[in-house]
Symmetry: C2
Subunit: 338 residues, 2 copies
DNA sequence: AATCAATTGTTTAACGTTAACGAAAATTTG
DNA sequence: CAAATTTTCGTTAACGTTAAACAATTGATT
C-alpha cells in the first residue's frame, strides 16, 4: 500500500512535506509540489480516508438511510443524491431501514461510527427517539420524504396531504364513491398525511368516511399482492364489492393490485380503478398505464444533497423546510362510472 | 462523541480494559465485561470504524461497484448482496461506474482508500488494466455479471452466450428471419458474448448474419429510446422495414423500444416482436407483457457476497467461477409470423 | 555587516482503536 | 507459608493522516 511516508522516501523529503504538497499548500515550493503530485499519480496514491477521517473529521462521506433501497422510488432519489455528491467529491453510504425503527437506529449508529459528515434520512416515524438522538449528535442531517414534527431541522418532502386529496378528488370526479385506501404502516408520517388528505376530500364532497375502507401496512409489492389476494378471495373483512376504486401509497403497491386482480380475473380499470403514487419511471408502460400522482424524486434528492453540503460547508444559514408539490398524471387505470 | 476512553473514565478502568471487554476478551472478568458492555449500550457507544480500520485493517466494509445503480437489474443484485453482508456484520459502499472504465478506476481507488476488505465489481471491460490492478492489490475481489479473461479469479455470472442464443432461437422458431440486435457498448464483455450467441443461433438455423442489423451502445432507457426513434423516423442506416423482431441486452432497453414504437404508432408485437433480457420484476406487468430471458439476479448477488466473505475469512480455498443459467420467459411481446 | 522578514521545510502530537507485553493481585501448589 | 501459577487489568506503541509549532535557509532592509 502506498502511503505518504512511502512517497516521502521516494521523493527524498519529509512526510509532512508530501502531505502539504498533496494538499497544494502554498508554503511548499511550486516545483516540489508538482514533483510530488506527479509521483503520487504515478504510484496510484490514494489518501487513506480512515486516517484522514480519524484525524481531521473530514471523511468526505455522507450517509443515506432510506426505507427501501430496492424500490425505484428511492432509487431515483439516491441516484440524484449521488450525482450531487460526486460533483463535490463526496461518497455516500447507503443503508436500508426497511421501515423499521430499530434498524434505523442501528444504521444511524453505524453511520456515525463510519465517520460520515452528514446524513440524509427518510425517517420511519415522525417523533422517533432517533430524531432527537440525531439532532443531539453532531452530524448534520437532512430529512426527506416526510417531515418530523419540529421546525429546527432541514428537510425536503412532497406534501402527502395534497397528494392523496388530489388522487381522491380525481376518483370522486370520475364518479367513485367507495374508495379503498391502501395505506402504509400506521406510524409512518406519510401514511398519516395520506389518510388526512383522503378524509378531507371525502368530506369536501360530502361523502361518508368509512373507516373500514382503510387498510394499513401495505407498502411493498408482496404485502400488497397478499392483501388484495385475501380481499378478492373473500377472506378479508373488506369484501370485493365494497369498493370500486383504490388509492395507494405507492406505485409498487399498485402493481401488487394489478397482480392480484389479474389472478382473480378482475379487470383494471373496468372492475376497479386504481391511482398510484410516486410516478416511477415505468408506470406509463404498464397494462393499463397507471394513473398516478407524480413526486419530484430527482428534485428531492438533489435538493437534499445540496442542502446537506451547504450545511456541512457552513455556508447557508438557518434550517430550511422545502415542500414540493405533487402532480396528478392521468393515464388509463381509472374509469369514469358517472 | 462517546469513545472507549469516555467509557473507561465512566467505568473507572483503563481504556484498554474497555476495549477488551467490548471484544468479549476472556482475560477480563466476566462481571467487569458485563458492566462495561451494559454501559456501552446505555451510552450508545459505537466503535469508530475509522480508527479500527486504520489500526487493524478490519473495517467490516466491502465495496460494490456496478455499471448502473439505478437499473432494477443491478438493484436486485446489490439488494441480495446487502442481505448477506448484513447477516455477517458487514456494511457496503456502493459506487456507480456508469459503464465507464476511467470512472471505474476512480471508484476502485476510492474504495481502497476507504479501507474496504473486499470488492464486488461488474467490470466494464474484459481485459481492463483495472483488473490487473485489482489482482495486484490486496483487496479480495469477486467479479460479477461477466467474466474477465483469466482463471485465477472469483466470479459469478450468467452465460450471456446462452442467453442471446435462447432469445434468437426462440424468435427464429416463431418465424422471424430479420432480427435486430440492440447490443450494449462494444467493449462490454457481455455485449461480446451476446453477439456471439446471436450469431451462433443464426448459423445453426442457416440464416445469414447481417452485420448491419447489429447496433451498439444501446444500454439504458434514454439511449434506447433515441436510437429507436431515429430508426423509426428513417434517420438511421437501419430502415424500419429491415427487421421484424428485436433482441435487446436489457429489459430497460426493451422499454425504450416500447416508448419509441408507441410514439411512432407501431404495435408490439404486431409490427415488431421484442425479447428482453434480465427479467426485472415489473416486466410481466408491461403492455404487452415482455417476453424476456431471466437472469438469477438474487442468486448472483448472494453467491457473490458469500464467496467474498469466504475469501475474506480465509475459509474456502481456491478461486471459483460460478456460471448460472438463463431461462426463457415466454410472454406477449413476440408474435408468430409463420 | 547585522537585523528582520519571508520562504521553505521538518518535528511533533494528536485522532480512537488494536494488540503485544508487563505488572499486580488472587489463587493454587508443594 | 513461600513459590509458582493463574487471573485480571494497565502500559505502550503502532496504523496514516492533519495541523500546529518549530527550525533552517534565503533574500531584502536598515
Amino acid at each position: 500500500m502506498v502511503t505518504i511516508k512511502r512517497l516521502a522516501k521516494e521523493a527524498g523529503v519529509s512526510f509532512s512535506t508530501v502531505a502539504k504538497a498533496l494538499n497544494n499548500d502554498e508554503t511548499i515550493n511550486i516545483e516540489t509540489r508538482r514533483r510530488i503530485q506527479l509521483l503520487a499519480k504515478q504510484l496510484n496514491y490514494r489518501p487513506n480516508i480512515l486516517a484522514r477521517g480519524l484525524r481531521s473529521r473530514r471523511t468526505k462521506t455522507i450517509g443515506v438511510i432510506l426505507n427501501d433501497l430496492q424500490s425505484p422510488f428511492y432509487s431515483e432519489i439516491y441516484k440524484a443524491i449521488g450525482e450531487i455528491l460526486d460533483h463535490n467529491g463526496y461518497t455516500m453510504f447507503l443503508a436500508d431501514s426497511k421501515y423499521d425503527e430499530k434498524l434505523e437506529k442501528e444504521n444511524i449508529l453505524s453511520m456515525i461510527g463510519l465517520g460520515v459528515e452528514g446524513l440524509i434520512i427518510s425517517s420511519v416515524s415522525e417523533m422517533s427517539d432517533n430524531i432527537d438522538f440525531l439532532l443531539k449528535s453532531l452530524v448534520k442531517t437532512v430529512f426527506i420524504d416526510n417531515r418530523p414534527n419540529r421546525s429546527d431541522i432541514n428537510c425536503v418532502y412532497v406534501d402527502h396531504f395534497v397528494a392523496s386529496s388530489l388522487a381522491t378528488n380525481y376518483l370522486i370526479s370520475m364518479g367513485h364513491k367507495d374508495i379503498l385506501l391502501l395505506n402504509g404502516p400506521k406510524n409512518l408520517p406519510s401514511s398519516c398525511r395520506y389518510l388526512e388528505g383522503y378524509q378531507k376530500s371525502l368530506k369536501e364532497e360530502r361523502l361518508p368516511f368509512k373507516e373500514e375502507l382503510v387498510v394499513y401496512d401495505s407498502i411493498g409489492l408482496e404485502q400488497s399482492v397478499n392483501l388484495m389476494d385475501q380481499i378478492f378471495s373473500g377472506n378479508h373483512r373488506i369484501k370485493p364489492n365494497a369498493f370500486s376504486a383504490i388509492v395507494t401509497l405507492s406505485d409498487v403497491s399498485a402493481i401488487g393490485i394489478y397482480e392480484a386482480s389479474h389472478k382473480h380475473r378482475y379487470s383494471i380499470p373496468d372492475t376497479y380503478s386504481v391511482v398510484g403514487y410516486d410516478n416511477i419511471f415505468f408506470t406509463k408502460y404498464l397494462n393499463p398505464a397507471l394513473t398516478t400522482i407524480h413526486q419530484p424524486k430527482e428534485q428531492t434528492g438533489s435538493l437534499a444533497a445540496n442542502m446537506l453540503l451547504d450545511s456541512i460547508m457552513e455556508r447557508g444559514g438557518d434550517e430550511v423546510q422545502v415542500i414540493l408539490s405533487p402532480i396528478l398524471i392521468e393515464r388509463d387505470s381509472v374509469k369514469s362510472i358517472k
